[in-house]
Amino acid sequence: MTGFYWERYPDGLFATLIGVAATYCSPDADADDYDRLKRLAKREDNQQMRVFKAELRRALADPSQLPAGELDEAVEYDDGSDEKFLRRLWHDLYGNEPIAGS
């Protein structure tokens, strides 16, 4: 079956997280895209980013829940592991905000 993870499994547990990360963080992303993502992350009225944040929290709480190989294939990060990439992403987007939500 062809298609990115979020196309193959639109209701997948981390479809939004993987889709947004691929769009803004992969080597295909533009130089300005990461800054765009940082601004998007601050927009509390954006439904997609609310879902993204919740899925990012969930993935950081238990990275083993991530579908095997999908984040790596979509983003091709240089951080070495899903967890390291996601921790960097959380820090860049949400600073020192606790990962565990209230």
Partner: protein, 316 residues
Amino acid sequence: MGVGELRGGADDPEHGDRPERHHPRAPDAEAAQVRVEPRSRAEYAADLEQRAVSGWDQRPFGSSAGDRRSESSAEPLEPVRRFEPGRAHLPNPGDAVTYLDARRGERPWLAAARDCRPEVQRLFAALDQGGGHSHIRHEGWVTEDMNRRRVVYLEDPAQLDPAKRAAGIDGLKPGEYLHRCRQTATRIVDPDAFATAFATGVEHPKVRAALEATFDPDDKPAPVQLPIGELLGSDGHRYCTGWRLEPVDGSMAAARKSREAWMATPAEKRASNVSEPRAQPVETFEGGVAVFVFGHNSRGDGYEVVTMYPRPPAQH
């Protein structure tokens, strides 16, 4: 002479590139036909290795019965003839031949379209006047060796300054922005095939939905994958080649991290401190896809296709 004898040692591309030695003319110069190999040793080796692994045979697009035909015509370039730059949010290219001729010195990627049919030249001229780079990094002007060096050493084909290219400086971004590349570097080798894939893809519903999305300065559509067979026909994968990083300890994540470490290490310290990245030709693109990536257009009021590249089937 095998590929292994061409790579490594004094003849290795990393030790400097030399053209093939010119053979002196035979005494009877009018009768003798002397073939001069125009490729450098490194390019020859990369071409040889690619053909040995993937079977790439350099046939022109349209020569195979499996090349795409439109529903209404047996002509494989029909989608390119119907291509409207405005529907891809690209500018009207004007006189494409004049545009290509005037710029091919400073924009060498345009040379690929020089001898093509007018509709292909028109598409290339329109692409070059937009903000995308698919025709610069993922088309046939990029040689196999350039593609291999892109994935291994992050050398950007769009970077025309040799020193900056060797340093991994991106050729399309301002300043000293480091070039990024996926764990594979791929291309559509034939300009007619490239133009057909782009023109056909732009009319696919998934691409139309992205291009017609309401513009948001901080948002952009997610990338889209389309089967190569849908764009170029059942033999379409034969017009795609690529190079893939070799895994490190069985891991592609480790390979990418290792490549980053190599690039971050000063050249004089690399041999002793980090492992040199290596790459192998992609064996096949059969069952693969073309990826369409979207971004903001130069006017800042809509989206365009900022790149399109073939991707081999996933290795699971």
